[in-house]
């Protein structure tokens, strides 16, 4: 800023900056406040949660709320189920979406237009339309109350295929052409050349799939009723049914169920945010 301007502009600039931060800090309190309350409640004894006025920090730090969650649910098992389902779905989606997306973007084959149109129609239909037949099919296969019942339908995705196709289409043709002239077959070109160049899209798809898979409720609620095979979301719904007003235990459970996603987000925040912005600009 030039010297002569700054002298008159500084107070106004200052005032504006203070106003901006006031609004942003107020909004931050509105967002973080509930999380703070979740943590604090998870550490209070039940008797303290029903005290008025409420205590800001626990008078008595009751860590046993966390073990109570394990007493009423096979929480560790659910945790493992959720992690396995999330990883398996994500890996499957990445592989199959990029294979199909590459074929749609770069290869010519009869029926590709029709096929892609059908894929897009899946994208436009709300998820609950698939649910009854999926339930019936999984029942016929004997896959209800099993992890594969949760995983296998989840590795197929029209959205992922669409996202990967868009990203392969944006790559320059030259490198692939050179590899083709060198005698590489289509799979080698896809696997060794195109796929590494599509990293931003792969990362975005990983984050979105993992988030969706970790957090989804209706599908696991319907498919698995055996607590040993449940995911955390359905498990929390059960926990709420059992400890209806014991909010310390409920908050301890919800805190543990959401912690991995929150930690992943804080560690990989740039990638999360870029992933969202990436899909935002692509769609």
């Amino acid at each position: 800023m030039p010297e002569h301007a700054s002298r008159s502009a500084r107070p106004r600039h200052r005032a504006r900056s203070v106003a901006t931060h006031t609004v942003l800090v107020a909004a931050s309190v509105l967002v973080l406040g509930p999380f703070f309350w979740e943590v604090v409640t998870a550490l209070k004894p039940f008797s303290e949660t029903t005290r008025l006025p409420p205590t800001l920090l626990p008078h008595h730090w009751q860590w046993s709320n966390f073990s109570k969650v394990f007493d009423s649910l096979p929480f560790g098992r659910m945790f493992l189920n959720t992690a396995l389902v999330t990883v398996a779905r994500t890996v499957g989606q990445l592989l199959f979406s990029s294979m199909a997306g590459y074929a749609f973007a770069r290869m010519r084959f009869r029926g590709s237009g029709l096929l892609f149109g059908l894929f897009l129609s899946v994208l436009m239909v709300p998820g609950l339309v698939f649910l009854i037949p999926q339930y019936v099919l999984l029942q016929d296969l004997g896959w209800l109350n099993s992890l594969k019942g949760l995983i296998i339908p989840g590795v197929f995705t029209a959205f992922g295929t669409f996202l990967m196709r868009q990203s392969f289409m944006a790559l320059p043709h030259e490198v692939e052409e050179a590899a083709r002239l060198d005698g590489a077959n289509p799979w080698q070109i896809f696997w060794r050349i195109a796929l590494p160049l599509a990293k931003p899209a792969l990362l975005a798809l990983t984050i979105l799939t993992a988030m969706w898979s970790w957090n989804d409720l209706m599908f696991p609620l319907v498919i698995n009723t055996d607590p040993e095979k449940m995911t955390l979301s359905a498990g929390l719904a059960n926990l709420q049914g059992e400890h209806f007003t014991d909010y310390s235990v409920l908050m301890a459970g919800s805190l543990m169920a959401t912690a991995p996603m929150i930690v992943a987000f804080i560690l990989l925040q740039r990638h999360f945010i870029q992933g969202i912005a990436f899909t935002g600009s692509k769609s």
Partner: protein, 324 residues
């Protein structure tokens, strides 16, 4: 050594070029075989688990299912029953009210993004992480947390209201307040997500425009309304469509807020009739009452609304969205 390699390379390229000129590339057929192999897993999977189910659900919506399975064709009976059922009409109203309120969150997200986009703002990335946090956490857990804060007797919300002399209601079970309490959670959760999309949109606006506006002596409000908002319309359009589609499918928050002990589908909560969304009704009919035909028909009511809303959005976009 290198020259032979180069010769080999050009030789191969020349052969390939000749083949292309003749109208077919060597390995054209082989490439097609590869293409089929590469789309096969996704095609089979989507076909079995997604495409065929669309047709099946559509078929089910014209049938009635017996207690031991099996479907009898009943024509449009389900749709007639649905039109006569007041709970369906109420669920449609509830869903539209929820969706409408979610749209109010869109300008808030723009405002936050505009504040964060200011030059030399300190702590931008910290704010961004904070606002985005609710979008990555499980809706089920967030609904539990808010339900606790909404508790009529010991909840934080009513305690804070009591400090200014207001006695708050039982937010999660009072039919007059529960729909709005629920919608507030929805806004709280999606604010940061929408903000990130707007922030990306704002960063795509060339700085020269702002420079020019400053030269012309435009103040911040004028600049915002005349430059930022029009150039942001593609992002606004995207977020609006996304918000509509997501809000029409809202289930998790309502399910967790309505559940009562021993009645997970929430039949004991007096606010349920005012909170039950179309997806909630679908879940209840299909998987609690096992009325598959009716549930399938409800699913297609939702499809109808989504198609209608998306169609209206895309028609209207020509009037207000400016693509640079």
């Amino acid at each position: 050594m290198t020259s032979t390699a180069a010769q080999q390379f050009t030789g191969r390229a020349a052969r390939a070029a000749r083949a292309t000129r003749r109208g077919r590339r060597p390995g054209r057929r082989r490439e097609r075989a590869w293409a089929y192999l590469m789309v096969a897993p996704m095609t089979i999977g989507l076909g079995v688990f997604y495409l065929w189910p669309i047709a099946q659900t559509f078929y089910y919506s014209f049938t009635s299912s017996g207690p031991f399975g099996g479907h009898t064709w009943t024509g449009t009976d389900n749709y007639k029953a649905l039109a006569d059922d007041p709970t369906v009409g109420q669920a449609v109203v509830n869903t539209l009210v929820y969706t409408g309120i979610q749209l109010v969150g869109v300008p808030l997200a723009i405002l936050l993004a505009a504040l964060l986009n200011q030059q030399n703002l300190r702590g931008r990335s910290v704010y961004r992480v904070i606002f985005f946090l609710p979008a990555v956490t499980m809706p089920v857990a967030m609904a539990m947390l808010w339900r606790w804060m909404y508790d009529g007797n010991y909840g934080l919300v009513n305690y804070l209201l009591s400090t200014v002399g207001i006695q708050g209601p039982h937010w999660a079970s009072d039919p007059a307040y529960a729909p709005y309490a629920l919608a507030a959670i929805g806004i709280w959760m999606s604010l940061g997500y929408n903000m990130v999309i707007f922030l990306a949109g704002l960063q795509g606006i060339p700085a020269e425009y702002y420079e020019a506006a400053r030269m012309d002596g435009a103040g911040p409000v004028r600049t915002f309304l005349r430059i930022t908002v029009p150039l942001l319309t593609p992002s606004i359009f995207f977020v609006t469509v996304l918000t509509l589609i997501n809000s029409l499918q809202m289930f998790d928050l309502a399910y967790m807020m309505m559940s009562t002990p021993n009645a997970p589908a929430g039949n004991g909560n007096p606010a349920l009739p005012k909170v039950r969304s179309i997806p909630y009704l679908f879940f209840q009919k299909s998987f609690v009452e096992h009325d598959i035909g009716f549930g399938a028909a409800v699913a297609f009511v939702l499809v109808g609304f989504i198609v209608l809303m998306t169609f209206i959005q895309f028609r209207l976009q020509k009037k207000w969205v400016h693509y640079a």
